[in-house]
Symmetry: C2
């Protein structure tokens, strides 16, 4: 069978995606996501994770992490992985269908240009971020030429953004990755 982006999830992610998890508040959801990011680094991945929750109930729909180096796909950012797994679970490309609960993407860091677009097309109504874009570029990753008012751009399109949730812990994770010499995998130029 020919499939694009067909890589196996590491065990910790497969496990997270098969659990029942209900986390009523944003801090607990971010703590869950930062734990995933730490496990991902231990499993050969990048220092980024993301998860989709039902915004109101806090039920976990899908958990993802950055698997660029491990999978060999530059699109395998945490947000793309989490959104895609949530869409498979709900069986639709649009997580914002009128008859289904509003979805929230919780990400250990603000989205790069690609993931900002992925968020826009996914149908999520809420985005919760830990580290800022400037924290991500400070350790060497590239965020791309995002609009300066990217939060406003998302808001104007019906997506509420909440920033700086457990930012300190999210930054600590990025700095630990950098200090350990983790690969900074921007495309060569």
């Amino acid at each position: 069978m020919e499939t694009p982006l067909n890589f196996e999830l590491p065990e910790f992610l497969a496990r997270a995606n098969s659990q029942t998890v209900i986390l009523p508040n944003a801090q607990d959801r971010m703590r869950f996501v930062l734990d995933l990011a730490r496990e991902n680094v231990a499993a050969g991945g990048g220092p980024f994770a993301a998860a989709v929750f039902e915004h109101d109930s806090g039920r976990l729909l899908a958990a993802g992490a950055n698997r660029v180096v491990a999978s060999g796909y530059s699109c395998a950012h945490a947000e793309v992985v989490a959104l895609s797994l949530a869409q498979r679970r709900l069986g639709h490309y649009d997580l914002g269908q009128p008859d289904s609960p509003a979805c929230e993407l919780v990400s250990s860091a603000e989205p790069c240009l690609m993931c900002m677009g992925a968020v826009l097309w996914s149908g999520v109504r809420y985005l919760v971020c830990g580290a800022r874009g400037e924290d991500v570029t400070a350790v060497g990753f590239d965020e791309g030429p995002k609009p300066q008012d990217w939060v406003g751009e998302l808001r104007r399109r019906g997506i509420e953004v909440r920033s700086d949730v457990l930012r300190d812990q999210a930054c600590e994770l990025l700095r630990a990755y950098q200090a350990a010499g983790g690969p900074i995998y921007n495309a060569s130029r």
Copy 2:
């Protein structure tokens, strides 16, 4: 096996990806891509296709098409599918490695915000586009808040952009899709 974005390629795409194709010039490459887009619409997909070629030799590395509605993944834009298949074929997330031939993405239309980011992170050195962003939005699709000088942003990061290659034919395809009542699958808001 847990995999994100695990959808089967339609037969015409699986076939295109198993052929040996060498097309020395941009017009012939675009014609090939526009044929893919037409076949994709006939196979229940969106009116967009893309392919990765070795820039100098014209050897086809991977062919993709928009499978959003058919696959249930909002990230399954033609560019993401083609870039991912090329990366799988070359076994690396970076198509711009110093020891490998420069890669070119040929797309039936200018990239949306997400795909602009995907192009940036992919390692391709050249991007060739058919229809313009304004042609795409004219039939109802959303391109997202791309930087106004998106071509310059890519150029500054080492990616040469060539626009308007067989633009008329690319636009005709978009209009035919719209006239036939093909689904315009933006996320609901």
